[in-house]
């Protein structure tokens, strides 16, 4: 028997309508590419989104068309998220840090009809234009006064698209499974692969993040997404913030420690979200100034593992660190590591032990860990296995890529994350490695994350990575690559000794290589792929 309740599609547009009705004064503050700071509210923004949506229709955009963006975090990018999905089209965010080759691949693969570009990225588009579809329209995200000179033909101006359009929109209803967003992975292996989000998955993800992180997502809270709108929906913040009535502070393109500190200080940001690299920069700035930004109380850190020393540094300043884990294919949140109240009174070190884990699953995400044969492993906190996930916010296959999709689902339909993890009886997930980064030495696994964590706690180390190199005797051995802190000149022996005191002898890398800077992926993570290419074998002087 069916229940007798109304059936309304879960719709992204309802999030912004709700915010405009309920949190009309909720703020969106943006550092603009034009150079100044822009302030607006959810109420005003809903009006501009309506105008943009009418403008998109006037451009001929219809249901399921892909509309691409190449832009920083700012209010116009936010408006595009809602206007594009609101009319049933698909918001395809492009990561400007991708290689030219990858960008060409995805714009053509997605068959984008319009591309919205921030001023900063006009030169990239000028260069790649010949390789994009001939009928692609290009819109520059600024007003008439700031339109640049460009070799691009027939470019449009963002503000002119809004001009004269009505500030109200009767958002159309469609099936809640309608596609709403498209994001390609950074393509560290093979071609980039697209995740095609739906209205249902996006609204449910917004709910999921709000109910599990109410500490941050609540009315009046001020949140800084350093994590970009151009990659996995800025971890869902553009949806979760309006739903919860939080204000958004968009940093534009200035993501160094100093710029972030100044912005946070001025805007009294409570919670800032981003990858570890960003927080390393901010912590340097905090140390230099001898204080934290005003109002600052929380970071959410993910994308790759935050080192213990990074977590400690923030917690010592009284800033709550919430480690989070997720993937493009998961909308992206999977777990969050705020501690339960019963752990609040643990000694500092034990709390950090916990905070180093990736935390507990958010509602809606089911997790299992299995052995190589696919058998379920116990959640005892110590047995790592292949991590699989299932839920409404998780991909069911890559966009127009059946070949890439096949290998990532098991017989029960669960998605293979490619991560190796253990789960504790209290539900805490600990990622020990990516399966492609695993090191197998003499038949035993070595966790690169564990080693990296320890090395990061050495004061002379700014950043580091451990990769596998082939070894005749042991099959594989770990190689440690270190980027020293400014002015520090740590010695190999010193670092290896630091390790040897803390792990089993056979896990200690045989050698350390020093580099000026570690290579980064397009999403701001250390690129182990590049490192493996750079160091296909142990260096000669080992």
């Amino acid at each position: 028997m069916k229940g007798m309740m109304m059936h309304r599609p879960l719709k992204i547009a309802d999030l912004i309508t709700f915010a405009a009705d309920t949190y009309p004064a909720g703020e969106i503050v943006s550092v603009r590419t034009e150079g100044d700071i822009h302030r607006t509210t959810y109420k005003e923004t809903a009006g501009r989104i309506a105008r943009l949506a009418h403008g998109l229709k006037a451009l001929g955009i219809t249901e399921s068309d892909r509309v691409a963006t190449l832009a920083w975090n700012g209010y116009r990018h936010f408006e595009l998220y809602y206007a594009i999905s609101g009319i049933g089209a698909i918001c395809h965010t492009i990561n400007p840090r991708l290689s030219a080759e990858q960008m060409i691949y995805i714009v053509n693969h997605a068959q984008d009809r319009v591309l919205f570009v921030d001023l900063t990225f006009v030169p990239i588009v000028e260069k790649l234009r010949p390789h994009f579809p001939a009928d692609l329209r290009i819109v520059i995200m600024t007003d008439r006064a700031h339109m640049p000179e460009t070799t691009l033909e027939g470019v449009l101006c963002y503000e002119e698209i809004l001009d004269g359009q009505p500030g109200e929109m009767d958002w159309p209803d469609f099936d809640e499974d309608q596609a709403a967003g498209l994001c390609y992975t950074s393509g560290t292996t093979g071609n980039p692969k697209g995740t095609l989000y739906s209205h249902r998955s996006t609204v449910l993800h917004a709910y999921d993040m709000c109910v599990t992180i109410p500490r941050v997502l609540n009315e009046g809270s001020r949140i800084l997404p350093v994590v970009p709108l151009f990659h996995v929906n800025a971890w869902g913040l553009p949806y979760g913030a309006p739903l919860s009535g939080s204000s958004l502070i968009f940093p534009g393109g200035a993501l160094d420690g100093k710029s972030l500190f100044d912005l946070m200080d001025r805007e009294k940001v409570f919670s800032a979200w981003g990858v570890p690299t960003v927080w390393i920069g901010l912590m340097n700035e905090i140390r230099q100034r001898g204080r934290i930004p005003e109002g600052f109380g929380d970071i959410v850190v993910g994308g790759s593992a935050a080192s213990r020393s990074l977590i400690e540094a923030f917690e010592k300043q009284g800033i709550n660190v919430c480690h989070a884990w997720g993937m493009t294919e998961m909308s992206p949140l999977g777990t969050q590591c705020n501690l339960p109240p019963e752990m609040a009174d643990l000694p500092f070190d034990q709390r950090i032990d916990r905070k180093q884990s990736q935390g507990r699953r958010i509602f809606g995400v089911d997790m299992k860990i299995v052995d190589d044969a696919g058998n379920r492993l116990p959640h005892n906190g110590t047995t790592p296995g292949h991590l699989y996930v299932r839920g409404n916010t998780i991909t069911s296959g890559y966009y127009e890529d059946p070949e890439a999709s096949k290998p990532v689902f098991d017989k029960e339909g669960w998605f293979c994350t490619g991560d190796i993890a253990a789960i504790s009886p209290e539900g805490f997930l600990t990622i020990t490695d990516r399966s492609k980064d695993l090191i197998k030495s003499g038949g035993e696994w070595i966790s690169s994350l564990d080693l990296e964590n320890i090395v990061m706690s050495h004061p002379g180390v700014a950043n580091c990575a451990v990769i596998a190199v082939p070894d005749a005797k042991w099959d594989e051995r770990p190689l440690l690559i270190v980027q020293p802190s400014d002015e520090a000149q740590p010695q190999k022996e010193e670092i290896l000794c630091h390790l040897a005191e803390r792990v089993a002898k056979w896990q200690v890398p045989d050698d350390v290589v020093f580099v000026d800077a570690l290579p980064m992926t397009a999403t701001g993570k250390v690129s182990k792929l590049t490192l493996r290419k750079q160091f296909p074998e142990a260096p000669h002087d080992a």
Copy 2:
């Protein structure tokens, strides 16, 4: 184009599984009908729910069967909620305060197959048994040691149903629209009418309440539902609490001010939810003891309008009052009146002005107000109209009652609440009356709620109601019925004068009637239906 995301049914069982995984230590504390206090956790409870579900199946319960409950707020009732819905059956909660006639009507109308009864209510069931379906099984919610002597034949014992059953359950998947719960309105007009909740509506309602009231619904928060599990799902708390990781303190049958104070004090309840009558009782106790219960910081009050003086009394003690509005037909929450941060600094009186309104809509509930002809009215805060609602958590028709269903939906499919309300530009809803309680005097509407509010602020008044009585000249005139506070002997003139100073002269009732106690409905509201029967016209000495 459809998104490419997994599709999992929204399922009630997932809420308790999530709580067991993620908030294993979250507490359920119950004052038992057996007389003692019972403590358990979400983890343990999930195990018992699994055993109960297996037990229900062993009793022959299958998908869509109605399984009824007649019970106080306690852990066994909570277990029934999940076990019944979890296996696809329908949890039909019965209000023990209904009249015998109404109870007989609904048990037969619902065709319940099993009835779970608390010890307290065994006598009621003994009396009504002959009028219930012959094949109805009856289970007494206690263990073998506490089984009462009873004239009921073949009764079962709750704990014995769990005995020997496995503590794990692979909860079946079904369509998320599957019916999950059934609750009849109190039937103040005509026969009771059933709202048939679905898994989808219930899970979405849990999300909606958690994202809009994160102040209360968050991990470790301690919540006391005085609002009963036997009526509109205790306002959604049995679902919202596990989703958010809040603990539940169930008061059993002792709902007087003293019992509640003691329980809250001992259990450090942060937030308590219930109808105004309950809070009048608790406030008396607080005044007598000269202090508030330890840890107490919040009440959610709804079901009928909380008077200004009640809201003030709690706020003056530093307790946040959240006025909420909803209906059985809405799962039930529609609005909540926590204030936005920008109103935190308003002077006390202005904050109370706001808090007297029913507040802002929760996500998922759309509202419109219309005139008699169905035309939309502006949200200007002053123009009242008929309030209609729409959303996934709202009924689409009464269970097996097409006749009652027809008149309550408009052409666009919106549900008619029967309430008259205005909506402010900031989204605050103010209920001015039920349409059936409206008073039309000389062609002008008089809001009974407005008058009641003012009368309630008179120190000699414990409770009051204003109803319409026929009048030859003015068509209708307001009649004021007052229940004086203990020991107070207020005079008519005094009270009318109090009113005359605050409202237009023509709105002042012509007379006051004093009563020892106001009649109450089964859900703890003043019964204006009964009053209208008692006072079909103005009293003679007027």
